[in-house]
C-alpha cells in the first residue's frame, strides 16, 4: 500500500503517521457535552469497505491529508489535503 500525497506524489507508507478515521478532524466545541467528546475521541467510524482516514506526511512535506481507501482490499482511491477541505 502506497499513499498518494497531494504535494509529493505516491510515497512509501512508512513516511506517514496514521491518525485513523476522519472523525479525528471533527472536533466538538469546548462547550460540548461529555457524550460529544466520547463520540469524537473513542466512537469513531470503523467501516469494512471504503473509508476516509487522516494521514500525516511526517517524513515528507509535513502535510495532513484525508485518504480515501478500501479497508478490505487495501486499494487506495485518492487523497486530499486537510487544508483544502477546511477551505471548502
Amino acid at each position: 500500500m502506497r499513499i498518494p500525497c497531494p504535494l509529493c506524489g505516491t510515497r512509501d507508507r512508512r513516511e506517514f503517521y496514521y491518525y485513523g478515521s476522519e472523525d479525528y478532524l471533527k472536533r466538538p466545541s469546548d462547550q460540548g457535552m461529555v457524550e460529544d467528546l466520547d463520540n469524537h475521541l473513542f466512537l469513531r467510524d470503523n467501516p469494512a469497505g471504503v473509508m476516509r482516514d487522516v494521514w500525516y506526511h511526517e517524513a515528507g512535506c509535513g502535510a495532513w491529508m484525508v485518504v480515501t481507501r478500501n479497508t478490505i482490499s487495501h486499494e487506495v482511491l485518492g487523497s486530499e489535503l486537510v487544508a483544502k477541505q477546511k477551505e471548502a
Binding site: 512508512r14 469497505g49 479497508t71
Partner: protein
C-alpha cells in the same frame, strides 16, 4: 466418545475406523434461549461455560465461516498471565488457571505447554518496569522471576549479547507462561459444547439483530431468522459491524496484525522470548517452525493480510535479537483482524439493549483470554451480573475515564 491413550492405540490397531466427527452439524432451530454470534475461541468457550457452569443448553453458536476460521486459528499462541493493571491482572490470572486444567476439562489435547516466557530488558528503566510488573504478578498470586544478564545468557545463549544498540540487561521470566495449539482450543471447546447439547451452526452469518422496545428478540441470518431471549456478540475483528446492527458504535478500530512461521527446524528455542525493544516475540512450534510476530501494521484494515513495511520491520527485529535466524527460511505469513480499543483492554459488558451482550476489544492478546473470556461472558449472560474478575471491562469506561492502559501509552486510538 471419550478420547484416551488407550483409544488411540486400539484405533491404531483396527485401522482408525472408529473415530466419529467431533461435533454434529445441526440445522438451526427456530428459537434458542441464547445465541452466541461468532464461533472463535471466545464464542465457543462462552457457549461451553453457559452449558457447563450455568446449565443453559438450548443455545447456539452462529459462525459465518467455519469454526476457528478467525483469529483463534491465526495467532502466535502465547499464553501468559503477566499483566500489571488492576482489571487485567486478576482476569488473566484466572484465565491461566483455567488453561492449566483445560485439557482434563475438555478431554482434548490443546498442547498447552508451559515452557516459560522471557521478556528482555534493554535499559535500567526497562528493568525497573519489569521488576514492578513482576511484583504485581506475584501479588496477584502468579509467578515471576527477575533474571540477571548471566541467567539470560545461560538460558538463551543464541541471543546477540555483543551488540551495543539494544544491549540486554536481564529479563523477567514467567515460568507458567507458554504456548498452546490454537486450532485445538477452538476444536476442544466446540466439541465440549456440542457434547453438552449446544448447536454449532457454521456458514451462518448474522445479518441483523431484532430488537423490540429495547429488548432483543433474535437475529437475522443467511440461514433465516432465529429467535432468542439473549444474544451475545463475540465477533472480534468484526465487532463494529455486528454492533451496528443493534444501532451501536463501539470504541473499536480494526487493525491487521501479521505473523510468520519458518520451515521446520531442530529444537532451538524452548520458551517464548519477547524482545523488549522492538515488539517482537518468538517461540518454536512442536513441528519445529519458528513462530514469530511484531506490531500491528498501524492502519485500519479488514484484510487478513498485511503490507511489506511491517514484514521488513519484524525481520529486522528478529535479526537484531538473534542473528542466527537469518539462516532460517520463512515459510508463510498471514494476518488477522484485531479489534483494537483505545486503551488496549477488552470489553465484556451489557449493552443498552436488554438481553444483548458484548464481548470484544481483544486487541492482539485474546488467545490467552479465551477461557476466562468465555467464563465471564457466560456468567454475565446467565446471571446479568459481571463476573468479579471482569468487572472493570466496562463499555462506558472511556467516557467515564476508568481506562485500563496496560502499555501506558495513552488511551486513544492508534496508540496500542
Amino acid at each position: 466418545m471419550r478420547y484416551s491413550g488407550l483409544k488411540v492405540i486400539t484405533e491404531g490397531l483396527f485401522g482408525n475406523k472408529g473415530w466419529g466427527p467431533a461435533w454434529r452439524n445441526p440445522t438451526p432451530k427456530a428459537e434458542y434461549d441464547a445465541i452466541i454470534i461468532g464461533g472463535g475461541g471466545h464464542g465457543l468457550s462462552t457457549a461451553y461455560y453457559l452449558a457447563k457452569n450455568h446449565g443453559l443448553t438450548n443455545i447456539a453458536v452462529l459462525e459465518k465461516g467455519y469454526l476457528g476460521s478467525g483469529n483463534i486459528g491465526r495467532n502466535t499462541t502465547i499464553v501468559r498471565a503477566n499483566y500489571y493493571m488492576p482489571g487485567n491482572s486478576e482476569f488473566y490470572s484466572h484465565s491461566l488457571k483455567l488453561w492449566e486444567g483445560l485439557e482434563a476439562e475438555l478431554n482434548y489435547n490443546v498442547m498447552h505447554s508451559q515452557r516459560g516466557q522471557l521478556i528482555l530488558a534493554h535499559s535500567d528503566g526497562q528493568r525497573d518496569t519489569l521488576a514492578r510488573r513482576g511484583n504485581a504478578m506475584i501479588n496477584q498470586g502468579d509467578d515471576a522471576e527477575l533474571w540477571t544478564l548471566d541467567q539470560v545468557k545461560d538460558f538463551a545463549p543464541y541471543l546477540d549479547f555483543a551488540q551495543t544498540r539494544f544491549p540486554i540487561y536481564g529479563g523477567l521470566m514467567h515460568k507458567r507462561g507458554g504456548t498452546a495449539r490454537h486450532d485445538a482450543v477452538a476444536w476442544g471447546y466446540a466439541r465440549g459444547a456440542d457434547r453438552r447439547g449446544v448447536d454449532l451452526i457454521q456458514n451462518c452469518e448474522v445479518t441483523g439483530i431484532d430488537i423490540e422496545n429495547g429488548v432483543v428478540r433474535g437475529v437475522q441470518t443467511t440461514r433465516g431468522a432465529i429467535r432468542a431471549k439473549k444474544v451475545g456478540m463475540v465477533v472480534a475483528g468484526r465487532s463494529s459491524q455486528v454492533a451496528a446492527m443493534a444501532g451501536m458504535r463501539l470504541p473499536i478500530e480494526s487493525h491487521v496484525l501479521q505473523a510468520f512461521v519458518t520451515e521446520g527446524l531442530k529444537p532451538i528455542i524452548d520458551s517464548v522470548i519477547s524482545f523488549g525493544m522492538g515488539h517482537f516475540y518468538i517461540s518454536q512450534s512442536d513441528k519445529g517452525g519458528l513462530v514469530f510476530g511484531g506490531d500491528l501494521d498501524f492502519y485500519s484494515s479488514y484484510a487478513a493480510r498485511g503490507n511489506l513495511p511491517m514484514v521488513e520491520h519484524v525481520m529486522e527485529a528478529a535479526m537484531t535479537l538473534m542473528p542466527m535466524i537469518g539462516r532460517a527460511k520463512v515459510l508463510r505469513s498471514w494476518g488477522g483482524i484485531m479489534d483494537m480499543t483505545p486503551d488496549g483492554s477488552p470489553v465484556i459488558d451489557k449493552t443498552h439493549v436488554e438481553g444483548l451482550f458484548v464481548d470484544a476489544g481483544w486487541n492482539y492478546g485474546g488467545f490467552k483470554a479465551a477461557p476466562a473470556s468465555g467464563w465471564c461472558m457466560a456468567h454475565l449472560m446467565a446471571t446479568g451480573e459481571s463476573h468479579e474478575v471482569a468487572r472493570r471491562f466496562r463499555l462506558d469506561r472511556f467516557r467515564s475515564g476508568h481506562v485500563i492502559d496496560e502499555e501506558a501509552t495513552g488511551s486513544q486510538h492508534n496508540l496500542h
